[in-house]
């Protein structure tokens, strides 16, 4: 199917696939973050379908702190590299 496409279409497709794969990567990160944070934040009995007033901010903090921690690792690695 790809063989019959002209160069412009091929280029457009390449860009499209690239952006789709970036989207998929982000989505997969969201899946694993949800997995991780749900485990940490929703610990009580599942009594209603809504997140309660502790769970909701906990989920938000969980994402934010994960990003902070992630940055910490990157910065630390950067320091290690610089001190060599």
């Amino acid at each position: 199917m790809v063989a019959g496409l002209n160069d412009r279409d091929k280029q457009e497709l390449q860009q499209f696939v690239q952006s789709e794969s970036q989207k998929a990567q982000i989505q997969s990160a969201i899946h694993s973050l949800t997995d991780m944070c749900f485990k940490k934040c929703v610990t009580g009995r599942v009594a209603s379908g809504k997140l309660d007033r502790y769970e909701e901010p906990c989920m938000q903090n969980c994402v934010d702190r994960y990003m902070d921690a992630n940055m910490l690792v990157l910065r630390h690695l950067d320091q290690l590299r610089a001190s060599q």
Partner: protein
């Protein structure tokens, strides 16, 4: 031949949606089965089904919150974090 391009794009989008849905279903089952069916009986009791419904809604609400929060974070330009998360 514009049709072929459109066809490929639709197919890619569809595959992405399917794999996203599949991942969500898998995670919901993983968490909610653990929570709601601690001791499997001969059938799913009404308490268990109710718990499952709530759990499912809760998980999807959580997914939406995480999605919003995460996207806000990467848009804020936490440089490099997006790439580093790719391995997750």
């Amino acid at each position: 031949m514009a049709d072929a391009k459109q066809q490929i794009m639709d197919q890619v989008r569809q595959q992405a949606a399917i794999s996203n849905a599949r991942a969500l279903i898998e995670k919901v089952n993983e968490h909610c089965f653990e929570r709601c069916v601690p001791k499997p009986g001969t059938s799913l009791s009404s308490t268990e089904s109710t718990c499952y419904t709530h759990c499912m809604e809760k998980y999807m609400a959580s997914w939406n919150i995480v999605s919003r929060q995460y996207l806000a974070q990467i848009q804020k330009g936490v440089s490099g974090a997006g790439a580093a998360m790719g391995g997750l």
